[in-house]
């Protein structure tokens, strides 16, 4: 199999992204660059209270503002609940939303929609709206949410479509218990059992382009939605549910997207302009301000994880018991699913005799959480990897060594990963390589640099999945055109990830042509074949597989038509990318002529679609080692060098795999060191701008070095697995480990602020 990878012409090559030159020269390709000037401006008035009933909205003064076209409140919208989570139907996320609700559940929850001819008119109207609230006591502490007498969703028309253990009368969005083996028995036999509790906060995806959607009615009286989204097909269903209109009346497409990272796997902006356009018949757009994107969106789930880990004195890990409490906030988007990854994508990193993984997901009166790169795995891996590092410290074993002793290998059955067998795993090679890259043996644990500064190293491993097994659908349509060029039509969404190019590379490899010979179109619910969308690390693996399958079948069609043109037996003809030929006679017919023929007196369909789902979700693996400098007097942590080695199977495009990794690590460093969603005691989100929610700038860390150690995944296209999400998972535990090695402190709550280090050191002294 490795030989096939070696002889590839297009796959594995660092090919420039198809849209790259348009992007670097600033061409108008994003939503707000392409919409007409005449659309209505749509904005919403947001609740100032974390829990309240809207008694009355006085629209009188607001509706007199010249240019205001419509003001809508909860009485004006359909009363059937739905979820905004972009998931396959029936969604595990509960149906707990209305477009506008009389009951507002967090500071920022929409109270009214205002549409007007221009922004000034809408802003003025928003100011003039007078709302009378019945203010209720909010539930803000997620540790007290389960069975609290304050109910976030007391309503009777709340419903859960899937058996996820949800119960709105207990503030439960989901609850489950899973195990393998007898955890208590094995733990009781262990020499050492550590119990530790870890806490990760909500984080904002903070993609540079905020949420935005444009809507208009087309010639056929259908609602057209052009949105910055990762999930066009789910948007169609969700808008249909929200507006109570048939799906056949809706078309959704996407332009270039200015980043997503999971944020745009939830419907955040779409329903509001969709509602306005549907009721007024006029084009409209809604563009979230950065403040709205910060306070009323879909951040990472805050989680508290308690790990019990048992081992023998020699370092052999025998059992892991994990309980996760996840905070879904006011609504349940992605609540029941993200939590699962905190255990199912952390525990299988180690071969243990027994494990248990229980969780509760609770409602509170803060902004709803959602999908963010890593999707629960990031939180769980921080907890488990730190627990392993704490165990190593307790047993006085090098944290590299404890991993070498216990990690998962190719061929192992991963019981905590739904019993899947690890068919492709180079984690051992990844770990060995990062150990070399960071010069671990010389640098572990630390060196005193004087002036209170200490340099140290830390390590962590990670895994993720590649698509959701037995659920996600990836599809690709390929067709032959004049001159023999191809069109690849997909429903997956390139949000800067480069999937348009990556999928074209796969098709080009099969069809033995140049990538430029494949035009890519996506994603459009009317034109694209059905695809779940770009999330769950699914596009390269699953849509890639569909593209591969489609291209293989199209080859057969090309040979069939070529053979017919030559009057030869198709079984004896071959195709080399530029011509179909008959080796025995030396006859051939060019791809250009085949393209022409496909459009002239032709009965062979030269366009086809392939779809696929996967029975498995092969995990990519990764190891990372970091060198930091900790200033023990101020608590400042400087990341000097971050070495990461990834096993994503075959990297289809090494450049794009590399930048994904560097970018994910950058985000992870932000999460580890300073990104944090904070609330006031009244439940108001404080980090409402990039001034108060600091993203890593390029001066915030030193170098990131990335290498690949590839395994070959037999079920993936050309041996590929995923890479999009796993890359954010290592910084929290690796940096936590390095900080311990410098200071003797395990910081168990992210982010590791300078203050936590200083205060921890002072406490240790006393």
């Amino acid at each position: 199999m490795k030989d096939t990878v070696k002889n590839l012409k297009t796959v594995t090559k660092p090919i420039m992204k198809k849209d790259a030159m348009s992007l670097v020269t600033g061409k108008p390709v994003y939503m707000d660059d392409v919409v007409p000037d005449n659309c209505l401006i749509v904005k919403v008035l947001r609740s100032q209270h974390a829990n309240a009933m809207v008694e009355e909205v006085n629209k009188k003064a607001a509706s007199m503002v010249p240019g205001v076209v419509g003001i809508y409140t909860w009485e004006d919208v359909p009363q059937e609940r739905f979820t905004m989570a972009g998931q396959t139907y029936p969604e595990p996320s509960p149906y707990d939303r209305l477009i506008l609700d009389k009951h507002v559940r967090y500071v920022g929850d929409p109270v009214a929609i205002v549409a007007g001819e221009n922004e000034k008119a809408v802003d003025k109207a928003l100011k003039l709206l007078k709302v009378k609230y019945e203010v209720l006591e909010p539930l803000l502490d997620f540790r007290k949410a389960k069975d609290n007498e304050i109910l976030v969703h007391p309503e009777d028309n709340w419903k859960s479509l899937c058996p996820v253990g949800a119960d709105n009368k207990r503030n439960l969005c989901a609850s489950e218990k899973t195990s393998h083996g007898d955890v208590e028995k094995v733990l009781s036999e262990c020499d050492v059992v550590l119990e530790r509790t870890y806490h990760t906060k909500a984080n904002q995806q903070a993609m540079m382009e905020t949420f935005r959607t444009y809507c208009y009615m087309d010639t056929y009286g259908r609602l057209n939605i052009l949105s910055s989204t990762q999930i066009v097909f789910h948007v169609r269903r969700i808008v249909s549910n929200a507006l109570g209109i048939p799906k056949s009346k809706i078309r959704v497409s996407k332009p270039r997207i200015g980043g997503g990272f999971g944020a745009k796997q939830t419907v955040v902006a779409e329903v509001f302009p969709a509602f306005v356009t549907w009721v007024t018949g006029r084009p409209s757009k809604m563009i979230f301000t950065r403040e709205e994107s910060q306070i009323a969106s879909t951040p990472r789930h805050e989680m508290e994880m308690t790990v019990r880990i048992g081992a023998n004195k020699d370092g052999k890990i025998r059992a892991i018991d994990l309980y996760t409490l996840s905070n879904t906030g006011a609504y349940g988007e992605h609540g029941p699913t993200t939590v699962g990854l905190s255990g199912h994508k952390s525990i299988p990193l180690y071969n243990v005799e027994a494990f248990r993984f229980d969780y509760d997901v609770v409602y509170t009166n803060v902004m709803s959480a959602g999908a963010y790169r890593g999707y629960g795995a990031t939180q769980g891996i921080f907890a488990l990897e730190t627990a392993v590092n704490e165990l190593a410290a307790k047993l006085n074993i090098d944290p590299m060594k404890i991993r070498e002793m216990n990690m998962v290998h190719e061929g192992d059955i991963m019981y905590a990963y739904y019993g899947e067998k690890s068919n492709s795993c180079a984690l051992d090679r990844c770990l060995a390589r990062v150990k070399e890259m960071i010069d671990w043996d010389n640098k572990y644990p630390c060196r005193d640099m004087g002036n209170g500064k200490v340099r140290s190293v830390g390590v962590a491993m990670a895994m993720q999945g590649s698509s959701i097994s037995n659920l996600d659908v990836g599809s690709a349509t390929l067709k032959v055109n004049d001159d023999g060029f191809y069109t690849l039509i997909i429903g997956a969404a390139d949000m800067g990830t480069g999937c348009d190019t990556i999928l074209a590379q796969i098709a080009a490899e099969v069809l033995e042509c140049d990538v430029d010979n494949i035009a890519v179109l996506g994603a459009d619910t009317d034109a694209s074949p059905y695809d779940s969308g770009s999330y769950a690390s699914s596009t390269t693996y699953l849509t890639g597989k569909a593209t591969y399958d489609a291209a293989m079948k199209l080859r057969e069609k090309i040979i069939e038509l070529g053979a017919e043109m030559m009057g030869e037996d198709k079984e004896k003809c071959e195709f080399d990318g530029s011509k179909v030929f008959y080796p025995e006679s030396g006859k051939d017919v060019s791809m250009v002529d085949i393209g022409t023929k496909s459009m002239l007196n032709n009965n062979i369909t030269m366009e086809l679609t392939e779809s696929c789902s996967s029975p498995v979700s092969p995990p990519p693996f990764m190891a990372a080692a970091v060198e930091v400098e900790v200033d023990k007097e101020t608590g400042t942590v400087d990341v000097l060098d971050y070495a990461a080695v990834v096993d994503c199977g075959t990297p289809i495009n090494e450049n794009l795999a590399r930048v994904q990794t560097e970018g994910g690590i950058g985000q992870g460093i932000g999460m580890a060191l300073f990104e944090e969603v904070q609330y006031t005691e009244e439940g108001r989100m404080m980090n409402n701008s990039f001034m108060q929610y600091k993203l890593p700038a390029r001066v915030d860390y030193g170098k990131i070095r990335v290498e690949f150690e590839s395994s070959y995944e037999p079920t993936g296209p050309y041996g590929a697995k995923s890479i999009g999400e796993i890359v954010i998972d290592t910084p929290c535990p690796a940096i936590t480990d390095a900080v311990y090695n410098a200071t003797g402190l395990f910081i168990r709550e992210m982010p590791i602020t300078p203050e936590k280090i200083v205060m921890g050191l002072i406490e240790n002294e006393n």
Partner: protein, 261 residues
């Protein structure tokens, strides 16, 4: 959301002053802070036509116009030679070059913001503000005055033989400081200025003790400074942590001044 009815580029400082007497009118510097406010302004008064964008060096002083940008003082050689680079150090962490090309010294000083690096820096020097009506007032004094409708025309820095150092501690490299420290030494008297406590910058003086070992002295001065200021908590740091940082940063600034940090 900021709304503005009228924009006037003042032709004379007199005109600017007259316009500014109306409460609904407002002077704009770089606009960065103003733009973030939810405010309805009748007339915005632009001072950029008044020649207040120059840094002048005279024999005994610098005069820095109110419309001089943070980038200008960062790049000004004379000012940085005089302060041994402390002025550059005080502004180079502020967001980015484009931000500093827009934000003005006058805006930063007049706002008397708690987080202001610029205010902290200039109080450490022998600085004065030149007000159109109020005349020349020491910057330390000005920092304590309530905001009025006078116009800040320039900052005057009196030259004297001095040593100075600027240091700050930030949660991220381009964030607001959680503590900012300007330290100057004239003769045997240190002026210790601490800003971002999170209250606005204020100063104390401290006598140099030549008899002590410098490290020991720096430690002692840090402790004295930490005891002399009040510290509070905001979303970036607690009072307790700030107090600890004050000790460290004053100590380090003192050592840095002597070239031993």
């Amino acid at each position: 959301m900021l709304t503005i009815k009228e924009y006037v580029k003042a032709a004379t400082i007199d005109e600017a002053y007259d316009l500014n007497q109306k409460k609904t009118n407002c002077i704009c510097g770089g606009m960065i802070w103003l733009k973030m406010q939810r405010k309805n302004v009748q007339t915005i008064i632009d001072l950029s036509g008044l020649g207040l964008d120059k840094i002048e060096e005279r024999e005994d002083e610098f005069e820095i116009g109110a419309m001089v940008t943070l980038r200008d003082i960062e790049e000004n050689k004379a000012l940085n030679d005089y302060t041994n680079g402390a002025v550059k150090e005080s502004v180079r962490h502020i967001v980015g070059v484009q931000f500093r090309n827009v934000a003005t010294v006058g805006g930063s000083i007049f706002g008397r913001f708690g987080f202001s690096d610029v205010l902290t820096m200039f109080i450490a020097l022998d600085s004065y503000v030149k007000l159109y009506k109020g005349g020349i007032v020491s910057l330390e004094e000005f920092a304590k005055m309530p905001k009025d409708r006078d116009i800040l025309m320039s900052i005057i820095v009196k030259k004297q033989p001095l040593k100075c150092v600027y240091m700050s501690q930030r949660n991220t490299k381009t964030d607001f400081p959680v503590i900012a420290c300007g330290l100057s030494l004239v003769g045997d008297t240190y002026k210790i200025v601490l800003g971002a406590r999170p209250a606005k910058a204020a100063a104390i003086t401290y006598k140099k003790d030549e008899s002590m070992d410098i490290k020991e002295f720096a430690e002692k001065m840090g402790e004295a400074a930490a005891e002399s200021f009040d510290f509070n908590t905001n979303m970036r740091a607690s009072a307790e942590y700030r107090k600890h940082l004050a000790k460290v940063i004053v100590k380090r600034a003192c050592l840095k001044m002597e070239g031993v940090y």
